[in-house]
């Protein structure tokens, strides 16, 4: 038998807590995609070595406490206003890496105006958009992104478009704006998708150096608590219901990647 001390050595380490991720208990529900997304941001900041040059903007929504977990300077923003706050920061500090992290209620309902105009101005920031199809924090009300037929506390029989309007594909909408440099949709429901999500976030940070416009990464995520499913069921439901309506992949890539 090999002694434990000879295995647990640094050169054998394949998985560890990123140093930008603070060692504390998270408030997110078990199986929630927010935790995974946080970890990816921390990994990317570590790998790029930009902890001292990054400023994040936390929204209103379940991720309102994002700053408790990321060891970087951060600002809380009023509901929906994260991209305006990020604009103010980036305009003052154009050489720093600035990102906002927002839910669908935050970004696609109360903050639609700020979102569209920040994208259209081509602010050199990264928007990370967590689409879980529901208002998590306030207890599972319908979001702009709630699917047709999907149940929520304010669409108890399922979303009926005639009564409640249609789900909003905000990412498709903003991908058309000239100020948007990179726009992609990823998910965090499987290990493979998580790896792709990380790549997208990495690009979103790196592209800020180009100063060519806004980077937008939509992460299709889950809300096991308000979907009233186990984490495993939630990820399966996401695959079967969310992804057909919100297909994964790039919507816009910079020329350097072969886009036009």
């Amino acid at each position: 038998m090999i002694a434990e001390e000879s295995v647990c050595v640094e050169e054998n380490l394949v998985y560890d807590r990123p140093k930008t991720l603070i060692d504390t208990t998270m408030h997110y529900c078990p199986g929630c995609g927010h935790g995974v997304a946080h970890r990816l941001i921390a990994e990317v900041i570590d790998e790029l070595g930009i902890q001292d040059k990054t400023i994040g903007v936390a929204p209103v929504g379940c991720s309102v406490f994002a700053y408790n977990y990321l060891d970087i300077d951060m600002s809380e923003a009023a509901h929906g206003r994260a991209t305006a706050v990020a604009t103010g920061i980036k305009r003052m500090l154009p050489d720093k890496y600035v990102f906002s992290y927002q839910g669908d209620g935050d970004l696609a309902a109360i903050g639609t105006g700020e979102t569209i105009h920040t994208c259209n101005r081509g602010e050199n920031i990264l928007i990370i958009f967590i689409n879980n199809g529901i208002y998590g924090m306030t207890g599972g009300q319908m979001a702009p992104t709630t699917l047709v037929g999907m149940k929520s506390t304010t669409s108890p029989e399922g979303r009926i478009p005639e009564l409640m309007g249609n789900p909003l594909k905000i990412t498709e909408l903003i991908a058309q704006l000239p100020g948007v440099y990179y726009c992609t949709r990823v998910a965090v429901n499987t290990p493979n998708n998580v790896r792709k999500a990380k790549k997208a976030i990495l690009k979103g940070f790196q592209y800020q150096d180009h100063k060519k416009g806004l980077c937008f990464v939509e992460i299709v995520s889950n809300c096991p608590s308000n979907w009233k499913m186990t984490p495993v069921e939630a990820n399966k439901w996401l695959e079967e219901n969310m992804l057909p309506f919100y297909p994964l992949g790039d919507l816009k890539v910079p020329e350097i990647e072969g886009g036009k």
Binding site: Q51, D52, K53, T54, I55, V57, A58, V64, F65, Y67, L70, D71, I72, D73, M74, S75, E76, A77, A78, R81, A84, V85, A86, T87, G88, I89, R91, M92, L93, K96, G113, E114, H117
Partner: protein, 357 residues
């Protein structure tokens, strides 16, 4: 050294002062009667000092850009007029709670609602009593000349940084639009030192800086409120500003702020020509309000007349200050109408006919 003299419109003078005060960023949205601030800055600021000027998509966005920019420790500002300031109230409450320095200029017009683009003082309550949700205060300065539109800009930035609190310059539309001779101060260079609380990227040797107004535990939230209230006490003790014109021997005192104080001093002059001893008391800081000084003044006069371009807002603070020591009367015009000196004189004669014979 001779200072630079110019004939300038109030809004433009204020914008020029912002550039000279070393302001780093302006975020705003057009609305009459203050659009010249944004226009003047768009033309002048960036090329002269590198100051960032951004026309936002709304007042809601502007004030939140100010919030983000102020969090970096820079000198930042916005300006608007009444309906726009109403839209900013959400952001102002957040900025006050997060204790960020910034300058907010309100060049008031007549309301409520869309109202009129003519001058008014109808936003007194909104400015000095809160306006947004929660217990917070802005430091509020009321200029009465174009010169003060200039002088109050660097003063506001100093106060904002000293107390980490938003400061509001509360002017009416007439002050924004009228031209007067101004003496401009020498430019102050933009600062490049970093405030220790600012979100500028966390160096290895310090804790992360978090700017937030979220304190979910009630104990913590109450603690924050106590901290804010302590700061407001300090402001009340140190930052009361006012002007007195011929008050020493006065029987009657007109209390007025901003442009109306100037009109009132003309009325007081006319009254003195008729042998009535009238003085003018002008609060310059509307918050903190000069309660104590007014209370002392009240002991030696026969009465006070509060004149305002609103339905009677500051008069409530004057009554609180005087606390029954003398009679307090009110005269106000609304909807964008500016009272004339003769009108105010007539009010003096009517309200104090008994005392003045």
């Amino acid at each position: 050294m001779k200072k630079e003299l110019r004939l300038m419109k109030g809004n433009e003078a204020l914008a020029e002062a912002a550039i000279r005060a070393g302001c780093d960023g302006y975020f705003g949205y057009p609305i009459t009667p203050q659009s010249e601030v944004l226009e003047y800055l768009s033309k002048e600021a960036y090329k002269r000092t590198g100051m960032i000027v951004l026309q936002a998509e709304s007042e809601v966005a502007s004030i939140n850009m100010v919030y983000g920019a102020a969090g970096t420790g820079k000198k930042v500002m916005t300006s608007s007029s009444s309906p726009g300031i109403s839209l900013m109230q959400e952001g102002i409450s957040y900025i006050a709670c997060a204790e960020l320095p910034c300058l907010i200029v309100n060049v008031m017009r007549g309301g409520p609602g869309l109202g009129t683009i003519q001058p008014s003082q109808g936003d007194y309550f909104q400015a000095v009593k809160g306006g947004g949700h929660g217990d917070y205060k802005l430091i509020v300065l009321a200029p009465s000349t174009v010169q003060e539109m200039v002088d109050f800009v660097p003063l506001s930035f100093d106060l904002a940084f000293k107390y980490k609190n938003p400061v509001m310059i509360l002017a009416d539309g007439a002050l924004g639009q009228m031209m007067e001779k101004v003496e401009l101060f020498d430019p102050i260079p933009r600062k490049n030192n970093t405030e220790e609380w600012a979100t500028v990227g966390k160096p290895k040797n310090r804790e992360r800086n978090i700017i937030t107004s979220l304190h979910i535990e009630p104990d913590k939230m109450e603690e924050i409120n106590h901290k804010l209230q302590k700061k407001y006490k300090e402001i009340e003790e140190n930052e009361v500003r006012y002007e007195m014109i011929n008050c020493d021997d006065a029987d009657i005192i007109i209390v007025a702020f901003g442009l109306v104080a100037r009109i009132s001093s003309k009325a007081a002059e006319l009254a003195r020509e008729k042998g009535l001893k009238v003085g003018v008391f002008r609060p310059i800081s509307l918050y903190p309000f000069p309660y104590e000084k007014l209370n002392r003044l009240a002991e030696n006069v026969k009465g006070m007349l509060v004149t305002e371009m609103n339905a009677g807002q500051m008069v409530e603070d004057v009554k609180l200050a005087v606390n029954g020591k003398t009679d307090v009367h009110f005269y106000g015009r609304m909807g964008g109408i500016v009272p004339s000196p003769e009108e105010i004189l007539a009010q003096l004669e009517e309200k104090f006919s008994g005392e003045l014979v």
